[in-house]
Point group: C4
Chain length 229, copies 4
């Protein structure tokens, strides 16, 4: 069942430690097959060294296990909410990568300070509001997803392909699980550079809007001219 | 004598440089056999490259060498005090890892800023009081252990599986020597992220209690649902 | 066509990820053949893992592709302007390396704090003025080059072999593409150390002029005595 | 001539990049044969990848080349002064390692904040005064050595086996070239942790004298009990 997607999701998960985004088992990637409405996700708490493509768990959009011998990631319901609410995405990644998690813990959105940021995220990378006590004691992982969706009510998830969950860590997404991994790699580096930028100049201001606009369109606009056609 | 434990302790020691927790010889791991009351520890000042499972030294709970040709770690008596006072632990690790040692040198406990922390340490990671001149000039390593035990009078060592010895560095423990190593890896990353969090937002506040509670119980409570059963 | 130069430029590009100067595809190196007035540059947005010497694109000094199946780097026109304006250079490198980009985002020039800096860059490493909205909406990449040339009106590009483009990142150059890569490696480390120096002493002052002068001449003056003859 | 020492010095030099202490060619190690009064040092500006034990240059204590086809390190006269003035040392290392150089550039001595420091350096690691314009324009490298010797008039070079040359970088030494390399590794980590300690607590105070004393004697005193006998 969904053998190719399992292999793709497996490889995407293995890219997380390879890119220094996870300590121990602190990360998970998933990919969805939009035709069947089923997504494939890493099993919970399994060492990356011992992971096998066949360990991947198949879930439906309510987060129920459809196939697999292992429990899916404890964050499965958050992934499910994102797939239900953002119909254009087909991959989701969650990590506790060092700099992105530090920004999430700080409660601040990441200001757009330069073109590296603008090439991938259109405007600041938003830090979500904290969950209420009721949301945490209720269906916690589902509510985590709902808080992200609430925070993106006025945003295009493909123009801002990731966010910081307050006191928790980053979630990214994309048109494929591989894109979602790329956005996690990029988000970590943007978070690192933004912190360093403020360390070097504590009164630094955001990059001008017209520069942000230009770089976003250079890569993603109708007349994009970055990369091969 | 205790061949399996020696191998386990050897492997745990080798994980310390592999996870960038030690410079030169600055670290040691031990594991105890609770039936015999004997523990196995790294020899003092030996290069990790030259370490052999058979070099591991067997000590009793007073820190006397029971078997082994080499001197045990100079911190052996601290390990012994922890094993005597915390009956539920079976492994202890000491390192001078960079961020945890920096917090220990700063004299501050590590505030709980997020779920990564709450998943493993229930509340702040406490920095112990400094030893007095008398304690240092007396049985220094034993007194180091006693200061930790004093600082944990009101704490469950399994809920807070590590600490910072002021002006010195981290000690962690766990149900096995492998768990103790994991807690050293985690502590280092938590210390790094807490410093970065404060760098990004100098007025940051602790994560709310109900979030800390939720995450700790998600992994360690009676209804834990992280990882495989 | 220009086979040796293609190989040299290919190798120079591969040194960028090997020296931790690029994330994903964020970098490009070029080298010029001054006799023909043609330069060779990396194709746009291609993974370093998949790069082949034969993928290198040959351009003329107006940035037109003379040979090659792929689009050249989106920064090609910036390289072209630098080659046209600085006749003594034969290699150009652009990266988004972490510390240099952070300085560029901060809008500050890098003060000369020590001999490591003075050995390679004579005086501060200048951060250029930001491009105007008109310059960005016009021929953006060409205007980026022109802003650099404007900022170097009173400077010798071989004595200051690199710069920071505001809100963007570093450009370096040299007598060969290999020299340009070396200057990118050096610039990143100088930027890191300058930030750390200010972190350690926020009131630090520049190194004295006579020390800067001495070190620059020790390596580059008529009586240079660093390295082999 | 001095084949064994050449091999030892070669291996010590190769440990510098292996321990991330040098960028490009920014480092050199030497060792002396006290019987003949000759020392062996790395040639100037040669890539570590291309270094060969036979490239090592033999010099006398005035810094004159006695054997070797290549120019010795440009810092040779500084090494010579240290060997002449500190009769108990037999190895010297100079690097531009990142954190130690940042402290040297900041102009501050490194305060003793913990036992890691006290295990190897008795008290603060001193930053030397800057050289005067006359000293720089005269015999610069020899004067660099003399400024170090002046700064150690009241210090035991074996109890404080290294220093920071202001606006320049670290020099370390030891009873052998291998010891000198170890002290460079240790100094870099102490500098990193001291900066981080001050980042975490800007009002931090030095470790108490009795703790510093205890740790230094635990490793180096007449009743030392660290390591094997």
């Amino acid at each position: 069942m969904l053998e190719n997607l399992k292999r793709e999701v497996y490889r995407a998960n293995m890219l997380l430690p390879a890119n220094n985004l996870v300590t121990l088992t602190w990360g998970n990637a998933s990919g969805i097959d939009r035709d069947s409405g089923l997504f494939v996700i890493k099993p919970s708490g399994v060492d990356y060294d011992e992971l096998d493509p066949l360990d991947m768990v198949v879930c439906d959009l309510s987060g129920n296990v459809v196939e697999g011998d292992m429990r899916p990631s404890s964050d499965t319901l958050t992934h499910a909410v994102l797939y239900r609410s953002f119909p254009d995405i087909s991959g989701v990644v969650h990590t506790h990568s060092s700099w992105a998690t530090s920004w999430a813990q700080s409660g601040r959105s990441v200001p757009v300070y330069g073109t590296t940021h603008a090439d991938y995220f259109y405007g600041d990378i938003p830090c979500m509001r904290g969950l209420t006590e009721e949301e945490i004691q209720g269906n916690y992982e589902e509510n985590t997803g709902k808080v992200i969706v609430e925070g993106f009510a006025d945003k295009d998830p493909l123009a801002v392909p990731g966010t910081l969950v307050r006191n928790h860590g980053p979630f990214t997404w994309g048109k494929s699980v591989n894109d979602a991994v790329h956005h996690s790699i990029i988000l970590e580096e943007l978070c690192r550079m933004a912190a360093q930028t403020e360390m070097i100049n504590k009164d630094v201001e955001r990059a001008p809007d017209y520069l942000v606009q230009k770089h976003y369109e250079r890569k993603h606009g109708p007349n994009a001219y970055y990369g091969q056609k």
